[in-house]
Symmetry: C2
């Protein structure tokens, strides 16, 4: 696994003169790149998932994630775990990431397997390395705050904690997971403070979410995790022994002639498990670093619309358009079709040529119902 060893070449963050990597340059960044992003249909779909799309700029969300992480991890210390259907596009989008660092899982088996495999592969040569795991398809506005949070989390991770970066909530979102922190400071540095975490709460009711926001003790769980690989693997051995055993056998065979056979056999037998449910909610030493990053999960068209630059009437998007008496619309056309709106407010219009979607912005979460209907109609090429 050559790409994962230090080759001594000038790294991206050195060239850019950015902040030093946490942990003396030994920090590893892992990006599990899975999920289609159904709620961004018809632009995102199985063959063309959200993380491969340039939604918030000229580069894809995955590329922006790698760019962001270049401030804390060198390309040789950056791993992407993706599915076989996306491996080619991932490697073309990320020429700076060494070949061996693009890990292709044969089947989707949840973030527990994907992140665990990355940890097991890193641990072969760097058994106490600190790694962070970051979603491939989120947006972060405040890069400096992000780097500070990773550094603060790495200090606690070095001490054997499983650390989440917890986003200070700006709204009582009911669709998110929340982390409650205690007042126990378990690590403090010039970059920030890590607190012992109390519990995870998935998708609260609105009243509860409102309470969470005002309490000051709850943060959004954005699946940003920092830990030592041995800490994670130890907790996996305790909590998910079957998965742990499989990962160890796969990592053991990784550099030998049986890699594909062992991977195929072990992986297909795994059960789906997320790192949150499988490990974090039951682990012994969980900490959280509160941070305000201008973060978004770019979860649906309404949310994407909030990240884009708007005109005077609050309209945003891409493609040629004519807007008459129309405000606060998200219009996204990847075709040469001129999109014209008359008297329309608060609507999402997405035109990909093979499909056209028009939805009220407050129904953006339900776009997946359209995908469900198309699957029922066996129009799989559109999903």
């Amino acid at each position: 696994m050559k790409g994962m060893t230090e080759d001594g070449a000038a790294t991206a963050q050195e060239q850019a003169g950015r902040m030093e990597s946490p942990d003396g340059g030994d920090f590893w960044a892992v990006i599990p790149a899975g999920g289609a992003g159904t709620r961004l249909w018809p632009l995102s779909r199985a063959a063309q998932p959200k993380f491969l799309l340039p939604l918030t700029g000229e580069r894809s969300l995955l590329q922006q994630t790698v760019d962001r992480l270049s401030a804390v991890a060198r390309p040789e210390h950056t791993l992407v775990v993706c599915g076989p259907g996306h491996a080619v596009e991932v490697s073309r989008q990320l020429p700076e990431v060494p070949t061996a660092n693009i890990v292709v899982e044969p089947l989707p088996r949840g973030s527990g397997a994907a992140i665990g495999l990355a940890a097991a592969l890193i641990a072969r040569e760097h058994p106490t390395a600190v790694m962070g795991s970051f979603a491939a398809d989120h947006d972060v506005v405040d890069q400096a705050a992000f780097v500070r949070a990773v550094h603060a989390a790495a200090v606690a991770a070095r001490e054997g904690w499983l650390v989440t970066i917890g986003l200070t909530p700006t709204r009582p979102k009911t669709g998110y997971g929340y982390i409650e922190r205690t007042d126990d400071e378990i690590a403090r540095s010039e970059h920030g403070v890590a607190y012992r975490a109390e519990r995870f709460v998935e998708k609260p009711a609105l009243a509860q979410a409102e309470q969470f926001v005002t309490s000051g003790r709850f943060a959004w769980n954005a699946s940003m995790f920092i830990w030592r690989v041995d800490t994670l693997l130890g907790e996996m051995e305790r909590l998910l022994p079957t998965l742990h055993g499989a990962l160890m056998r796969i990592a053991g065979a990784w550099d030998g002639p049986d890699r594909d056979a062992v991977l195929a056999r072990e992986w297909s037998a795994l059960k789906d498990v997320t790192i949150d449910h499988g490990v974090m909610e039951h682990a012994a030493k969980v900490a959280t670093v509160p941070a305000s990053l201008g973060w978004s999960d770019v979860g649906d068209w309404h949310g994407l619309g909030e990240l884009l630059e708007t005109d005077d009437e609050g309209n945003c998007g891409v493609g040629e358009r004519v807007m008459i008496d129309s405000a606060r619309n998200v219009v996204w056309s990847t075709t040469r079709t001129v999109v014209t709106l008359l008297g329309m407010d608060d609507v999402i219009v997405v035109n990909t040529g093979d499909a056209l979607m028009i939805a009220r912005r407050d129904r953006a979460q339900d776009v997946r119902h359209i995908v469900g209907e198309l699957k029922r109609r066996a129009r799989l090429e559109l999903t």
Copy 2:
């Protein structure tokens, strides 16, 4: 002008066993086919006007107009007046209409010139023929009532009246022209009654329109006119002597070698005038036959939507679509794009591939503003 003479072949209405033509088979039908129908953009546009489009069935509005008129006039007595840009498509859509009966005006000069030219051409061989003029792009549901109204009007026309078929109004439409009738019955037959008309009122205010509807004396002016050609030409000579002179010179040269030269010279010098403003509002003997035909001018997408078959949620249109929690929408797609709506009500969606229009149904009249904006942007190929 061979097509305009009686060739003795079995005519459409004879073959179909329909009602006999008014005026002993000598009735002439004239269809001025002009106007783009801008409010049905992006489907209708300059090069592809409303009357050439199959909007309410498999045949175009023009074809349906000719079909409807085949009950009162043979193809040899049916004249279409159109512009040079539409002559090819008109002749291909109407193979049953003799070549000589498709009259191409060099430039648009209003319905006065177009209808007047048709009358002058008919008058060459049939100076006292009764003709009717009917828009090329309207819809009539009740064919039998239409035929009866034409017959009733022909009786009055034979007596030297300029007769309109007045549509009994079903709603206080402010965008239409109205005709007020008197109580003077000037002709009565088994087909209906013609009354002396009192006055024309263009686009009344809403309160006035409501009064018109309840009065029982007002009818919509749908530009359905029946008269003897000599009556019309006589009134034109009195009211529009310049136009009349030009038409006479054109008709005189029509069958000779100078037709194109005379037409080009005379036509370009004409001023735009409508038959309503130029003749009907000032003529001496104007009558109206009240009729209820299930008539529509197919004036905009909202109106077209009211003519189409709807599903249980009130949605209608053409093209594959997925509708979720969406009602009373008009969705018209001439592409293979699947159109999906989520949480959308009372909206018009028209997708022609090069343009996509999304408008509130209650703004259907303002679609022309989009066309105006595209012209300002010099996107003339879309207009």
